[in-house]
Symmetry: C2
Subunit: 308 residues, 2 copies
DNA sequence: GGGAAGGCACAACCGCCCGTTGTGCGCCTA
DNA sequence: TAGGCGCACAACGGGCGGTTGTGCCTTCCC
């Protein structure tokens, strides 16, 4: 379907006459007539009844009109999402099912007027580059990697310490446990395919493994979450880590179990970083929203890497 | 913007290679390349980075992708709204700001999975014709007009008795009243432009005027609700009737006042009518929804026309 | 390190769609 | 009944979009 035809249809419906719609669109009346006729042919229904004083919407036309407006609005938003300058707020998250995406979902509900786009970059370096070039406006990252220092023009605020949980199947020996300590996981096989070496995500789990003597396997190609969850659910020895707010979409019959990890609870330090001079008006709203819900991370019962 | 290009963009983003997208769309790789290049040119940004093993989304492309999917979904809904057979549930209402539209809004919220289109036909006769021809699936009307009998194949259920209220400006002598009786309105000027003779809407107010000795003026052309409300707000003698749930969109400074009418309260009997053999699956859900919230209209303190 | 293969871009060609001009027809109005 | 208004149809022309053919770059493998 051609959006130019849809735009013509809306203009004609509002004007009530093809001639006026044609004037508004800077084309001839015949062009409007042709566009509408083509649209009607494609849809298989008549959208207007032609009268001596102009046109009037048919019932089908009345039903189609709001959808046509929706289409044009969606087009406007799509164009606006990539328009240089004054585009929608663009935030980088580490994964679309992880806690940052959930936090952004909360923000979207709290501020429905803010246009928000979510993207995913490779790592902190890419995010910093994108922040500096103005390609993105903010990024959720664990920015305090060992040996790295944020540049002066990048601001960072630690907004959410997310508890790490163990995900296992019903046949796993820990399936009946309510809580396990990190030390109790030593000797168990913890499998995390998809953990890309060099990312801060991988650095976090490296530190976790080192601190408590765990063995984390990242062998094998990453086939996506579904095969991973399938394997975990059917295994009596494999486990994996997930964040407390990680959304899992798995078939209900798999009966995967989340086991809390405590004494201490490893928490993943999500931070929001942005460029000091970014003028985007919605950025302040995002900062306020995240700051208001910020958790107190001075709790002695939690664990973070020494470099965090 | 061309939706075919948008569809191509989504296919290429999912496939990761122009060649695969081309195969899926049954065009050549060069056509996909051209479509994407044209789209990028129109948007002014690069959507893909070209690599030796295919293409990868840029940050702009990542931001654009969900909007592109939205566009295609909106197109699908638009086409579905007029597709003969299996189209969305289509309901005729007497006006988009009156109570039936509000009831449909409630239904939409309660059943977000139901595709619903709202149209407005001229009168009961047009609605019955449309129900029989399958053009619409249901209609909100006050069907019990004097001298009219619904055909056997049309079912009707009285779903909502809407109290009538008086709408006046702050300078009107009744502005301070909490409730007025219909009889007290005799002698006041009640102005209702836009009341089309021959419709059941007009018949109702004719009966109301006759029952209580009121004078209802329908003189003058109907310029829409805004001028009407402006005039009412600034007049010390003009009043008009509105339904209890009628949504008015007027500038806040006009300070219009709604005055309840009681002893008895005139109520407008909204009914839902549909064709006996309409097979639309969502029609039953609409009937259930309206039936569950149906008001008891055996209240002796209300008034309806004798023919209702 | 060099050849082969895979994948995208560019050029040329062409058909078709779209918009314009010119005209006809039906309906309402005076 | 004549005139005007408004949409549809016909003919024409240009440009957009698709295909074929080809070139270039990257990656992989021997």
């Amino acid at each position: 379907m051609d959006l130019e035809a849809v735009r013509t249809f809306v203009a004609a419906a509002e004007a009530g006459r093809f001639q006026d719609a044609a004037a508004e669109l800077s084309v001839t009346q015949q062009a409007v007539s042709k566009r509408v006729a083509t649209l009607e042919k494609r849809l298989g229904v008549r959208l207007f009844t032609r009268t001596a004083r102009g046109v009037r919407l048919t019932v089908d036309g009345q039903a189609f009109l709001p959808h046509a407006r929706d289409l044009l609005r969606a087009e406007e938003r799509a164009v606006a999402s990539v328009r240089p300058g004054r585009r929608a707020l663009r935030v980088d998250v580490i994964g679309r099912r992880l806690a940052p995406a959930t936090l952004l979902g909360d923000f979207r509900r709290a501020h429905p007027e803010v246009e928000l786009d979510v993207v995913t970059l490779f790592d902190v370096d890419a995010a910093v580059d994108a922040l500096r070039s103005g390609t993105i406006d903010a990024s959720f990252r664990a920015v305090t990697m060992p040996g790295r220092q944020l540049p002066d023009d990048i601001r960072a605020v630690r907004v959410y310490d997310e508890p790490v949980q163990l995900l296992i199947g019903p046949a796993h020996p820990l399936a009946a446990a309510h809580t396990v300590t990190p030390a109790e996981l030593a000797g168990h096989r913890i499998w995390m395919p998809g953990l890309v070496p060099g990312t801060e995500w991988a650095a976090y789990y490296d530190a976790l493994a080192a601190a408590f003597g765990l063995t984390i396997e990242i062998t094998g190609p990453d086939f996506g979450t579904e095969p991973l969850l399938d394997t975990i659910a059917g295994s009596s020895s494999l486990a994996t880590f997930v964040g407390e707010r990680t959304r899992l979409v798995w078939p209900a019959d798999q009966s995967l179990r989340r086991i809390a990890v405590g004494r201490p609870t490893p928490v993943y330090p999500h931070s929001l970083i942005w460029h000091r001079e970014n003028p985007h008006p919605a950025l302040a709203a995002l900062g306020d929203h995240l700051g208001s819900g910020r958790l107190d991370h001075s709790d002695a019962g939690t664990w973070t890497p020494a470099w965090a």
